[in-house]
């Protein structure tokens, strides 16, 4: 900004003297170019600093998010909508950074820029400077007149655009269902009518919203026009206004060049409306990351899953877990088998000390984590010191090498998140992986999604593992429960208030 003003001064002096006095002074010209280069360099450095600050803020936000995701109560975290969380993690930190860095910086220059411009003009003609300052209240009055309207309309516009995107997104999401119900033509027409209507509505809103920048354009254009005429009349000696007559050409040129800079920062700020709205939305969405963790009571009850702590605690009161052996948790649906298993494994709460002492646990369920890559990699994932032969052996044992639906043997491709695996395949993979580990194993319905052959393989594997390790299974499978040496039987749940329409 200062660089720009200095260049304007140098250029005005040079051009003014060239035209008026017919002399070319190298000094002001060199000074002007020097100021230009220095100002440009300063602006460039400031831009880079802004970019770095934005990256830092985004990084810090991600780090806070990471800490929260890694540390917060599993139950509470499971209640957050996963899709929204992932979408937000990829976008919100950057939007927040733009709000607190770029947007804040622009707001600061909005205060400083006009002051600098006025300060530069004042020594030449304080009257011209005063005219600019006096134009500001006029501009503010204009803003106030349409301001409320603009804000309201602009919000309405954001909302309309949001709805437009939502309608479209919804139909894309539901596309297979639409095709299955032979409703493509109907939905295409509906989509056309709806997004067409939103587009028209948006236009009527935009026509008002653009008044915002229109006013700023108007003032900066008009300031040039009015100043040019006044300064011209002053030169001709036709006007006796102090501050506008008896100026040298370079002085009036300078005033003319700098005047628009008085309004430019306002305009730049107005253009950042989007960044502001996005940043504010991101800040709201990320609120929970920075909120003080409040575990327990304040959270809403877990969806659908009663937490029969009392029942399981009673069943466990004098149960001592052995260091090795198969323990079966049985009981009717809803008795809290999974809940108990989660507590034992330390997913919810601390877990039991005697179990923690047994080493790193394995968890076997249809939602077991499967890394992308090959089958061999998925089996050996996070298992220390296992060789290829051992991996092949356990894969063979669980029938993963000759699975027609997972061709390729140990090199079979596993998609990100194990998306190409069925529930049964995931279970067998998790069991194979468990066989390579050493700690206790917690299995949630390990045979439920399997055909007879594979269920048998899993049972045998669990029994084999239980010879040297603790294997706890929560199961409905009588055959599996019969193999267990220890039993925890949970009673049927007391009548839990069900949701109005059971899911």
């Amino acid at each position: 900004m200062a660089g720009r003003l200095a260049f304007a001064a140098g250029l005005a002096v040079t051009a003014g003297r060239m035209i008026e006095a017919g002399t070319l002074d190298p000094m002001p010209l060199l000074a002007a170019i020097g100021a230009l280069v220095l100002g440009g360099a300063a602006g460039w450095l400031a831009d880079r600093r802004t970019a770095r600050a934005e990256a830092d803020v985004a990084g810090a936000t991600l780090a806070a998010l990471e800490a929260r995701l890694a540390g917060m109560n599993v139950r509470q975290l499971q209640q957050r909508a996963r899709g929204a969380l992932v979408t937000g993690a990829a976008r919100h930190p950057a939007a927040l950074a733009r709000l607190v860095v770029s947007h804040a910086a622009t707001r600061a220059t909005m205060g400083l820029g006009p002051l600098l411009a006025v300060a530069a003009i004042a020594p030449l003609s304080w009257e011209a400077a005063a005219a600019l300052v006096l134009a500001t209240p006029l501009m503010i009055v204009f803003f106030a007149l349409v301001g409320g309207l603009i804000q309201e309309r602009a919000d309405a516009r954001e909302a309309a655009l949001g709805r437009l995107a939502a309608q479209f997104a919804d139909r894309v999401r539901a596309l297979p269902t639409i095709l299955a119900n032979h409703a493509l033509d109907r939905e295409t027409q509906k989509l056309q009518a709806r997004i067409g209507a939103y587009a028209r509505g948006t236009m009527s809103v935009l026509s008002v919203a653009f008044l915002n920048s229109g006013i700023l354009d108007f003032f900066s254009s008009l300031s040039i026009a009015v100043l040019a005429v006044f300064l011209g009349l002053g030169h001709l000696g036709l006007l006796d206004v102090p501050g506008f007559d008896h100026l040298a050409l370079w002085q009036s040129l300078f005033i003319l060049l700098v005047a628009p800079d008085y309004f430019a920062p306002f305009r730049r700020y107005a253009e950042l409306y989007h960044a502001k709205a996005e940043g504010a939305a991101a800040a709201t969405a990320l609120d929970w990351v920075f909120a003080v963790p409040e575990d327990g009571a304040a959270e809403p009850a877990t969806r659908g899953q009663p937490v029969p702590d009392a029942a399981s605690d009673a069943a466990l009161q004098d149960f001592v877990f052995p260091a090795a052996g198969l323990v079966a948790i049985t009981g009717p649906s809803g008795a809290g088998k999974t809940t108990l298993l989660r507590r034992l494994a330390g997913v919810d709460g601390e877990g039991r000390a005697e179990l923690r002492a047994l080493g790193r646990a394995s968890w076997i369920a249809t939602d077991s984590f499967v890394p992308a890559g090959s089958l061999a990699r998925a089996i050996a994932w996070n298992i220390d010191g296992c060789d290829g032969e051992a991996v092949a052996a356990v894969a063979q044992e669980l029938g993963l090498l000759d699975d027609a639906l997972l061709p390729g043997g140990l090199d079979a491709r596993i998609a990100a998140g194990g998306e190409n695996l069925s529930g049964g395949q995931r279970i067998r993979l998790a069991v194979a992986r468990m066989l390579l580990g050493h700690g206790p194993a917690f299995c949630d319905e390990p045979t439920a999604k399997l055909d007879a052959d594979n269920a048998d393989k899993v049972r045998r594997a669990l029994v084999a593992a239980a010879r040297s390790r603790l294997v706890v299974v929560a199961t409905h499978d009588a055959a599996l429960a019969a193999l267990a040496r220890h039993h925890i039987v949970l009673a049927a749940p007391a009548a839990h208030p069900m949701k109005a329409i059971a899911a």
Partner: protein, 548 residues
């Protein structure tokens, strides 16, 4: 029935026609917007130029006796005219440009939607875009593509217009300055070219990193319990977020490159005006003769201000390019057959599978060859564990997937996949609820209210819908529980007129007794149709069971 099919196809054509007429409407608006943009830029340049020329002229006149006779009214009026023109033209340009862009947006979205509907991937495996994070990525692509004309082509064309105009003026008034002006303009242009390449690379990496990170984070959150149990939660979440950190870093590199471009464009206007003035001076122009040079020179200064948008143009172009690459998967599907004619209402006695083997997504056969016949009045349950290919078989019969081998006969005649699509009502296991009314969600446009109510009663949703505000109440996916959504999807099966009803896991999310009640009603209701369903639970007594 062919009449019915024909009637169904007409709206499709009319919608295409509407799309075309909207396109041509947008062309007119774009022209207007371009004209106004040019006018506004011209007025901005002239405002500065004429003001400077005027001040120079009056300063020279004021010194002599010409002061009294100087006509200051004309330039004064011109300056005011340019100021008003610049403001109004800019406002008009914004309105017209956005109107055109919105019109294009409507057309583009419909085109993309139709292309997606026709793409084989839509009917194939699990619908990826039903997942929020994928959908968000994809929508961003559509938006970047929407914006291209408004944010890239349009300002670039306006700037080029202003540049050529001033360059010709410079060539006339001070030809010597053309060379340095071209040189000073070449620097930002070269930087912009390089920027498009390098910012483009960074943008591609950012997108890739964001996608990897999102997928990994989604997977880690899905496996939250196992990871927590195994003590790997912090580890895996950290790994998942690493690409997102990387994408923040890449964005910084992008900003750095654009800052360099901003620096170069910022220098252009001032250097150009200096060059023009010096060239005129060098050519011997003094006093009044310098005024034209000042006129053109300060015009360059005004253009330099407008050129500040160059970095935004580069960024917009890069994003649009990536977005187009992302969308080409859908829009480049060639001329796939449009939706098959809906041939509901005709009678089909039996559907036979002859040596049929379904195929994996990469085309390899699954399981043993199947020889089966499904008959009217003999509902069939496909049983088998998850992953045994029940969904694949149903989709193959429905004509959504190609079999690896064998044939599917309808009443003894082989019918191609597209033909079968029209005969079948396919109840997907992940059927979606549209954000729309209950009525629209039932997909039975010809049905009476009484029929709709009867179907809702059959799936035990009548009370729920009544409480929720009736048939015209607005529904969204999250208003309904999984069980309610499943039953609403089953109500669609009650209302369909298709001769073949295929249902994938219709009892999922329902409690056992309710599932039995609803299926029994459906069996009675569709006694004159072919009914096949898959179930991992024990199916209804009396239904034929096929084990996969």
């Amino acid at each position: 029935m062919t009449d019915l099919a024909h009637a169904d196809r007409i709206p499709a054509r009319s919608s295409i026609r509407a799309e075309r007429s909207e396109r041509s409407a947008s062309t007119g608006r774009w022209r207007l917007a371009f004209f106004l943009a040019g006018l506004s830029l011209l007025a901005a340049i002239l405002l500065t130029s004429v003001s400077v020329w005027f001040l120079g002229a009056v300063a020279l006149a004021g010194a002599g006796s010409a002061a009294v006779s100087f006509d200051f009214h004309t330039p004064g009026a011109l300056v005011r005219l340019f100021a008003i023109t610049r403001t109004l033209a800019k406002y008009g340009e914004r309105l017209s440009g956005h109107a055109a862009a919105l019109t294009d947006q409507v057309a583009l979205r419909l085109t993309v939607f139709s292309a997606m509907a026709n793409a084989p991937a839509t009917r194939a495996a699990g619908w990826q875009l039903s997942r929020e994070e994928r959908l968000a990525d994809w929508l961003e692509d559509v938006e970047d593509r929407d914006d291209e004309r408004l944010r890239v082509q349009f300002p670039a064309a306006t700037l080029a217009f202003g540049f050529l105009l001033l360059l010709s003026a410079t060539a006339v008034i001070s030809p010597l300055a053309c060379l340095p002006v071209l040189f000073f303009a070449a620097i930002p242009l070269i930087l912009a070219r390089r920027g498009i390449r390098r910012v483009g690379e960074a943008e591609a990496s950012t997108r890739a990193a964001r996608r990897t990170g999102s997928a990994a984070l989604g997977a880690a959150l899905q496996a939250l319990v196992p990871l927590a149990a195994e003590g790997l939660r912090a580890n895996e979440i950290g790994t998942a977020l690493r690409p997102l950190h990387e994408s923040a870093r890449l964005q910084r590199r992008q900003s750095d490159m654009l800052a360099l471009l901003d620096l170069a464009t910022g220098l252009f206007g001032p250097l150009a005006v200096t060059a023009v003035l010096l060239a005129a001076w060098h050519a011997g122009a003094r006093g009044e003769a310098l005024l034209p040079a000042a006129f053109v020179g300060f015009g360059w200064l005004a253009l330099g201000e407008a050129a500040g948008a160059l970095s935004k143009i580069v960024l917009g172009r890069v994003k649009a390019k990536e977005a187009r690459a992302g969308l080409v998967v859908w829009t480049d599907g060639g001329d796939c057959a449009a939706e098959a004619a809906d041939r509901s209402g005709i009678f089909v006695g039996r559907v036979s599978l002859v040596g049929l083997r379904t195929a994996t997504p990469d085309g390899r056969p699954i399981g043993r060859p199947l020889d089966l016949t499904f008959q009217v009045g003999r509902p069939t349950a496909l049983a088998g564990i998850s992953g045994s290919g029940k969904t694949t078989l149903l989709k193959t019969i429905a004509g959504w997937l190609q079999p690896a081998a064998g044939a599917i006969l309808v009443d003894g005649r082989e019918v191609a996949a597209s033909g079968r699509q029209g005969l079948v009502h396919l109840g997907l296991h992940d059927a979606a609820i549209l954000s729309d009314t209950v009525r629209a969600n039932l997909f039975a446009d010809g049905a009476t209210d009484a029929e709709l109510h009867a179907a809702l009663a059959a799936v035990e949703l009548a009370d729920r819908v009544e409480q929720g505000g009736g048939l015209d109440a607005w529904l969204t996916q999250d208003v309904l529980s999984l069980g309610e959504a499943q039953r609403l999807a089953l109500a669609r099966a009650f209302l369909t007129k298709a001769p073949v009803i295929l249902l994938d896991e219709p009892t999922e999310h329902l409690d056992a007794e309710q599932a039995v009640r609803i299926l029994a009603r459906l069996r009675a209701h569709a006694a004159d149709r072919i009914l096949v369903y898959s179930a991992h639970r024990p199916p209804l007594l009396g239904d034929t069971i096929v084990r996969l």
